[in-house]
Symmetry: C2
Amino acid sequence: MTSNSKHRPVETVDTAFEIIDVLKRKDGAGITEIADELGLAKSTVHRHVKTLEERGLLLQEEHNYRISTWFLDYGVYVRNRHPLFDVVKPKVDELAAETDEKVWCVIEEHGMGVHIYGAEGRHSVKTHARIGKRTPLHQFAAGKAILAHLPDERVDEILTEYGLAAKTSQTITDREELNDRLEGIRERGYAFNHEESVRGVHAVGAPIRDQSGTAIGAISVAGPANRLRDTALAEELPTLLLGATNEVEINLAHS
Amino acid sequence: MTSNSKHRPVETVDTAFEIIDVLKRKDGAGITEIADELGLAKSTVHRHVKTLEERGLLLQEEHNYRISTWFLDYGVYVRNRHPLFDVVKPKVDELAAETDEKVWCVIEEHGMGVHIYGAEGRHSVKTHARIGKRTPLHQFAAGKAILAHLPDERVDEILTEYGLAAKTSQTITDREELNDRLEGIRERGYAFNHEESVRGVHAVGAPIRDQSGTAIGAISVAGPANRLRDTALAEELPTLLLGATNEVEINLAHS
DNA sequence: TACCGCGTTCGAACTACGGGAACAACACTT
DNA sequence: AAGTGTTGTTCCCGTAGTTCGAACGCGGTA
């Protein structure tokens, strides 16, 4: 799968989704606003919007169009059909209850980490993560756990495509350093996140691997830096986490 | 908003979403399969699919294309931005804990009921409902509660568009009968569902109204018919439910 | 080895997409 | 009350872009 865009895309479909993206970015907009934003004629935008609205994908109220919940239907369908979901959900709930922290399950898709399920512990930190959120893999514990267990050429592809953008001052932005960390993760079996994605938040992440050893996802536990440190971060949480991912891998093999 | 399709839709956008629909309906498919299903040329489908894949909306594995989690991102974004969501979520959780039953929040969109949030009680029944699920309003308690508090002309529009399809033998399929029931719901303040959507399942649903009195959504409690009967169904649950919707309406007015 | 089945590429034809201008409906100013 | 600015909407025309069919490459299988 080379990323050469050799074929000619269907431009009309692209503009349709660009309109949808504008509506998402702006929390809804009018015809003229969309047209200006995208440099299209009002009539063009109007026809697109009406087409999408007729399909139920958009909602109109006065001079404002918004994205509808059809996307929720498609999205939840996709998530529930994912082979990991049924197996991982109870374990994530369990971990959240045991640790009292925020627990996430993340999968890899198109080289990005996607949060497909999260559970609240009693003392969960509030971050901007939410179901469906896409995050560059190098920026967080679950992502690095996945990255450490993908084929080298795949890692190369991903990193050359997306680069190593910083999220906080602690984000790993050097390719060499990342490779070292990934090596450490492979030896250790799990990954840390020391304020690399959110200031004041630490996390531990462990991969979920298929029978070939390739990561198909990861589970992470995140919490405030002052609570997740010393042996809690280095021993207790990893033990719980590896127990969970191990069970998930076994259940996955027999489903 | 008449349902006259006076304008000419963008057919290319329609085919794109028809392809997506096929992929959803068939849990993934190949190029040829999609082309046969829709009566399109393979080359056409191929170009569409590659366009969507390049945007990250589809995933390819071998000769099989699937919908990606991008739709989850759009969908959850839409749900979380909905004015009801933040207010209703804690109340739904609370109701589930109090009643030990399955609790849903449903909103109306394009004349259909959409499940935007559900919480499990300890003895929750398992139905086919899931977040994002769209259901005709006349088929369940929350839907009828909404229908009973919409303007008459809106109700006419909706019923003439979708009809009164039966889900079980108890589903209301007669227009006159439905009107009587809706009248009863308005007097009583909440709606019942006696095995009208799922055999063996009863439910109570109460509307969430805006300041004009129009329903913008509803909350329902559902459980096995043998547990939800007599005073539990007729008194205790409605009391809890109306307490919750009342609080939601108040919080909604001040946000 | 020849045969399907698949996804993919290519070129040509004509459809239908996009643009611009004019229109209607409304709010706000003067 | 007339005027000026919005907005969304409709129309028609030209051509760019979509669609189709046929051909290609590549696996498997008989």
